[in-house]
Symmetry: C2
Subunit: 469 residues, 2 copies
C-alpha cells in the first residue's frame, strides 16, 4: 500500500483509537515494555548492524553515540514507559461545563488530535518515546526516523505495533515509513494528517513548513538570553551563567547572549569574564564591553599576565603556553572580529561562545530579547521583585525565568514525563510539549429538543450557568 | 509609514499592551463605548456615504443590510462592549503551578498572543466587535475590513483607537489598513504578526493560507450532519431538523445532510419529508431514499395528490397550482438529478436543500460524517444513552450534539460573550472562538540559583509537587 492509502486507513481508524479507554492504551504500553525486554537481543543485534554500517560510512563519533541502543538506553526507555503509564490520562478531561439553558448542557472535553506525523533524528530511543507518547494520548502516528538506524527502528517499531494491536487497538494505528521519498508523499496528505512534528535543523523544519498544508509544530533557533540586572546577586549569577552556557552547548535552551545592566558592568563583567574563560567560554560583544574588559585587565594586579592566565589557563590556574588558541578576552580587549554589530546578536552559536551587551534597564533588556531572540527561554538574575515582575511580563518568550539556568526548559524538568519537542510557535502548544500538546478538545452539547429559532425569537433565553467540573 | 513599518512598531509595543492591566483594557472599552455613543451622528453620516456608494454600485439588498450601521446596530455594539467588560480577564490565569524542587517554582500563565491580523467582511459592527475583543484580551490588532464600508470603518476605527490611547495603551496598538494591496504586504510580515484570522469564503481563507507563513486560524466548509438514530424520538427530530436546516440557511452551522437509521427509515422519512417540504426544503438523496418516499406516497390515502399538496402547499395546507416550481419530492421519487452518488455528500448548499442517506448503525453514521463532513458540528437524535455516547466519542468534529439543532454552534450561544470566528482547525482553538482563543501561555520559572548540572549529576533531584492554583 502507498503512504497515502495507509494514511487514509489510519484516518478511518483514528476515532476508534481516540475512543479506546485509558486502560487499553496503558495495557499497550505495558505489553510494549515487556516485548522490548523480551526481545532485547534481537534489538541489540539490529543495532549492531546499524552501527557497523555507520562505521563504514565514517559517521562522526558524537553521532555514533546517538545511534547506539544498548542495555543502558533500553533501561532508560523502559523507565520512560513506566513513568508514562503512571501519568494521568490526558484525554477525556472536562475543561468547561456549562448549562446554557434548562436541559441544554455544554461540555468541553480534551480529545486526541488524531493522526500525527513525526519525523525525527536517528536515535532509536526517540522512536520508542514518540510512539509511546502517541499511544498514551490516543493518537495514531506515522513515524519516520533517521535512516542511519533503520534496522533498529524496524525491530523496535514491529514490537511496539504488535503490542498495541494485542492490547486491542485497531490495525493501522501506527505506521512506519522509511524512504525519504515517502516524506514528500506524507506532506501531501493534508486531508488525513492533523499535525506534523518535524525534529531536526531549522532548515529542515522550514522546508517541511514550506511544502505542506498540514499544520506544523516546529521550533526555530534557540537564541536564549541571561540578563544580569543592576540588583543581581553576583554569587548566583556566575554559576547560573556558566551552567546556561556550558552544561550542554548544543542544546537549544543554552544561553547565547549575556545582557548586563550598565550600572554594574564595571564590576560584574571582569569577574564573569574570568570565570567564563576558565570554563572555556569565548566572549564576543560590543566595543563598550571590550573596553571595560581591557581597562579591568590593565588595572588588575599584574595586568596582562594575570588576565591571560585567568583566561587561558585550566581550572587549576596553571598558565597555558599558547595564547593563540586561547579565548579572545585579552588585556587589549576583543579582537576586531569579536566586536559585535546589531545583527550579530541573532546568531545561535551552539558552541562555547557568548555574546555580551550592556543595557540601561529591564525594559531595554526585554526589548533586546524580543527583537533579537527566538522567543524560546530567557532569564533575569535579580534580587529586585519589581524588576523580575516587569521582565517576566515584558519578555515575549515561551519560558521566562528568574535566578536559574535557561537549561531548565525541558519536558522532563517541567515534570511532563516526556516531551515530543519544544515549540517556539505561540499557537496550540508553546515551550516543552508533553502529553498536553498532543490533545485538542471538542464541545459536546446535550439537549432535549432545543431549537435556535426559540432563542432568536426571544421565546427562550440562555442563562449560562457554570456547573461543577 | 508602510504596513511593514507599522507592524514592526506594533510588534515592539505589543509586550507593553500585553502587560497593561485588565483595568486599563476595560477602561479603553468604556471610553470606546462612550465615544461611539457621543459621535453616533458622525458614524451614521459616514455610513450613509457608504450606502449611497453601494446603491450606485447596485449591491444586492441582502448585502446592503449588512453594510448598514444604524441606531439598532449601535445599540447591539454597545451591549456587546458592556458584556465584554463584564467578562473575566482571559490573561494572567495560572493553569499550572508546580514546585520542581525546593525554591524552584514553575507556573504556566495565559498571555495575549501578541499581534493579530484580522481580515473581515464588510460589516461595520464586525470592526467594533473584533477590535474590542483584541483590546480585552491584550492583543494588538491589524484590521482590514471590507471596502464597501470604508467610510464607516474609518470613523469607528478612529474613535476606538483614540479611546485605547486615552486609556493609557501605547500608540500603534491598533492599525487599520484599507487597500487590498496592503493585505499582500501584511502576509509577508511573518516575523511580526503572530496570527491571521481571515473571515470570508473558503476560497479566500485558502488563498491566505497559501500565501503566508503566518499561522492562520481559518474555517473550512460547514458540512454539518443530523443523524436520526433507530431510537430517536421523532417528535423531537423533525422540529430540530427544520431548525437546523432552515433557521438561517447561509450559516456554516446549518445541517446539510440528514442521516437516518435504516430500521426507522420507512416510517420516519415520509413524515420528515412532508414537514421539511412544508418548510420549503428540497430533498436530495440516494436511490434507496427516493424509493422509500415513492412507495410511501403511493401507499398514502389519495396517493399523488396528497403528496403534492403536502410537499408544495403552504403551511395552511392549501394546494399550490404549479408543481414545476415545487420541491422535487414527488410521488415518483426524486428527479434523476437529485439521486446522489458518493461524492455529492461533500456539498455545502447554504440553501434550502438537504442531502439524505441511510445507515445501519451509529458507527456507520460516524464514519460517513468523518469522511464527508467538515469536522464542524454534527448531531445525533436518540433516546439511547449508549448510542449517544458512542456517537459523541466517534465523531471527530469541533462540536458534537445530542437532541438539539446544529445551529447552536456559536460563541454567543456557548456563553463566550463574543466570537472572532468558528475554527475547524484542530490546533490551538477549535469550534467557536472567543477570548480564550486569543490567548496563549508562557511558562514562568522562579529559582534561587539552581543550575542543571546539579540535577544531571544526580546531586539534586526534582520532586514535582503541584501547588494550589
Amino acid at each position: 500500500m502507498s503512504v497515502r492509502e495507509n494514511v487514509r486507513k489510519m484516518k478511518e481508524v483514528s476515532p476508534i483509537v481516540a475512543s479506546a479507554g485509558a486502560g487499553m492504551r496503558n495495557e499497550a504500553l505495558r505489553l510494549a515494555a515487556a516485548a522490548l525486554r523480551e526481545h532485547q537481543e534481537e534489538i541489540f543485534e539490529a543495532n549492531r548492524e546499524d552501527l557497523a554500517r555507520a562505521q563504514e560510512a565514517q559517521i562522526a563519533p558524537a553521532v555514533m553515540k546517538r545511534l547506539k541502543f544498548d542495555g543502558h538506553k533500553l533501561a532508560d526507555c523502559l523507565a520512560g514507559i513506566d513513568s508514562l503509564i503512571s501519568l494521568e490520562n490526558p484525554t477525556g478531561k472536562v475543561t468547561l461545563h456549562r448549562q446554557l439553558d434548562e436541559g441544554l448542557v455544554l461540555k468541553r472535553v480534551t480529545v486526541p488530535i488524531g493522526v500525527i506525523g513525526i519525523i525525527f533524528e536517528a536515535r532509536p530511543d526517540a522512536l520508542v518515546q514518540i510512539s509511546c507518547l502517541c499511544i498514551k494520548s490516543g493518537n495514531c502516528a506515522v513515524l519516520k526516523g533517521g535512516k542511519e538506524t533503520a534496522s533498529t527502528n524496524k525491530v523496535l517499531f514491529g514490537l511496539i505495533e504488535d503490542a498495541a494491536i494485542r492490547a486491542g487497538l485497531p490495525k493501522g494505528c501506527l505506521l512506519q515509513v522509511s524512504a525519504h521519498s515517502e516524506i514528500d508523499e506524507l506532506l501531501t496528505c493534508d486531508d488525513c494528517v492533523d499535525l506534523l512534528i518535524p525534529r531536526g535543523s531549522n532548515a529542515f523544519v522550514r522546508y517541511i513548513m514550506d511544502h505542506t498544508r498540514i499544520p506544523v509544530m516546529g521550533h526555530s533557533d534557540g537564541i536564549c538570553h541571561t540578563y544580569v540586572d543592576q540588583a543581581a546577586d553576583c554569587a548566583l549569577a556566575i554559576p547560573i551563567l556558566i551552567d546556561a552556557k556550558t552544561q550542554y552547548t548544543a542544546a537549544c535552551n543554552s544561553t547565547e547572549t549575556l545582557l548586563v545592566h550598565r550600572a554594574i558592568a564595571d564590576t560584574f563583567l571582569p569577574k564573569a569574564a574570568r570565570e567564563l574563560a576558565k570554563a572555556g567560554v569565548k566572549l564576543r560583544g560590543t566595543m563598550e564591553v571590550s573596553e571595560i574588559l581591557r581597562k579591568a585587565a590593565a588595572l588588575s594586579g599584574d595586568t596582562a599576565k594575570s588576565w591571560i592566565s585567568a583566561v587561558q589557563g585550566p581550572a587549576d590556574g596553571s598558565v597555558s603556553g599558547n595564547p593563540v588558541n586561547g579565548p579572545v578576552l585579552v588585556p587589549g580587549g576583543f579582537a576586531a572580529d569579536d566586536i559585535m554589530g546589531e545583527d550579530d546578536f541573532r546568531k545561535e552559536y551552539l558552541d562555547l561562545i557568548l555574546s555580551v551587551r550592556l543595557v540601561d534597564s529591564v525594559e531595554e533588556a526585554a526589548a533586546h530579547i524580543n527583537r533579537f531572540g527566538s522567543h524560546h527561554t530567557d532569564c533575569i538574575i535579580t534580587k529586585d521583585d519589581d524588576a523580575a515582575q516587569r521582565f517576566m511580563a515584558l519578555v515575549d518568550s515561551a519560558s521566562v525565568y528568574r535566578n536559574c539556568s535557561t537549561r531548565f526548559a525541558d519536558g522532563f524538568r517541567y515534570g511532563f514525563g516526556a516531551e515530543v519537542g519544544i515549540s517556539t510557535s505561540k499557537l496550540h502548544a508553546r515551550g516543552p510539549v508533553g502529553l498536553d500538546g498532543l490533545v485538542t478538545y471538542k464541545y459536546l452539547l446535550e439537549g432535549s429538543g432545543q431549537i435556535v429559532a426559540d432563542y432568536a425569537s426571544g421565546k427562550k433565553q440562555f442563562h449560562f450557568r457554570n456547573l461543577e467540573i
